[in-house]
Symmetry: C2
Subunit: 126 residues, 2 copies
């Protein structure tokens, strides 16, 4: 499946770059207008994940967030996104935290996906 460049995809990508935070489908929708199809947004974001351009975080609200994650650029190839994400309960922003976290697993356990999430109040909102 060779990828094609489309308007929708570039718009979403540009938005993610500009945002500098992790965005939910909802945020993308409301930024890019209601004329953009919901299913398409999901498909574009999922495609970005598959291609490793974006990583997916599941929030403690059960929703999916997507981020380019500029903080962990060097690690992107290796697909280890072992950093936390912070969601401000006030303004809703979801950002990558810088530190990489190591969690000791019991013997014989192997990790496939890391999902660290903290919510609270960001600097602006506290």
């Amino acid at each position: 499946m060779k990828r094609r460049t489309t308007a929708t995809q570039t718009e979403i990508l540009t938005l993610l770059e500009a945002a500098n935070t992790a965005l939910s489908h909802e945020m993308v929708q409301s930024e890019l207008g209601a004329n953009m199809d919901r299913a398409t947004i999901y498909r574009v974001l999922n495609r970005f994940c598959e291609d490793g351009r974006v990583h997916r975080i599941v929030g403690d609200d059960g929703k999916q967030y997507f981020a380019l994650c500029l903080n962990c650029g060097e690690l992107r190839e290796s697909h280890t996104h072992n950093h936390f994400h912070f969601r401000c309960l006030e303004c809703g922003k979801v950002e990558c935290l810088k530190h990489d976290i190591k969690v000791p697993l019991p013997d014989g356990y192997t990790s496939e996906r890391f999902n660290g999430f903290i919510s609270g109040r960001c600097k602006n909102c506290s």
Copy 2:
């Protein structure tokens, strides 16, 4: 709102104790039979959370899991559940990991909820 003891509640509590892992609504349902009402299960579990008997974790599958968390008994009063949870992608078990994790937040940020989640393969399934 004074609490009352009911059959449903004790059943669920007993199940959580026996399980020694975190359970989703679905797991509770399938263990305790289809005759038990879905909404009731959710309400019971939410009540347990409010009462501090159980804590809620949101999985990287977007689902809620509930655990007595025997590992962190001493901490229960303080309501700080800063430990990770591990879900085996094979057998589906969700367990509390022992270690408490400290995540450094940027200046001015305050934490309200911690949700650490790792999925992979447990000892039995790898």
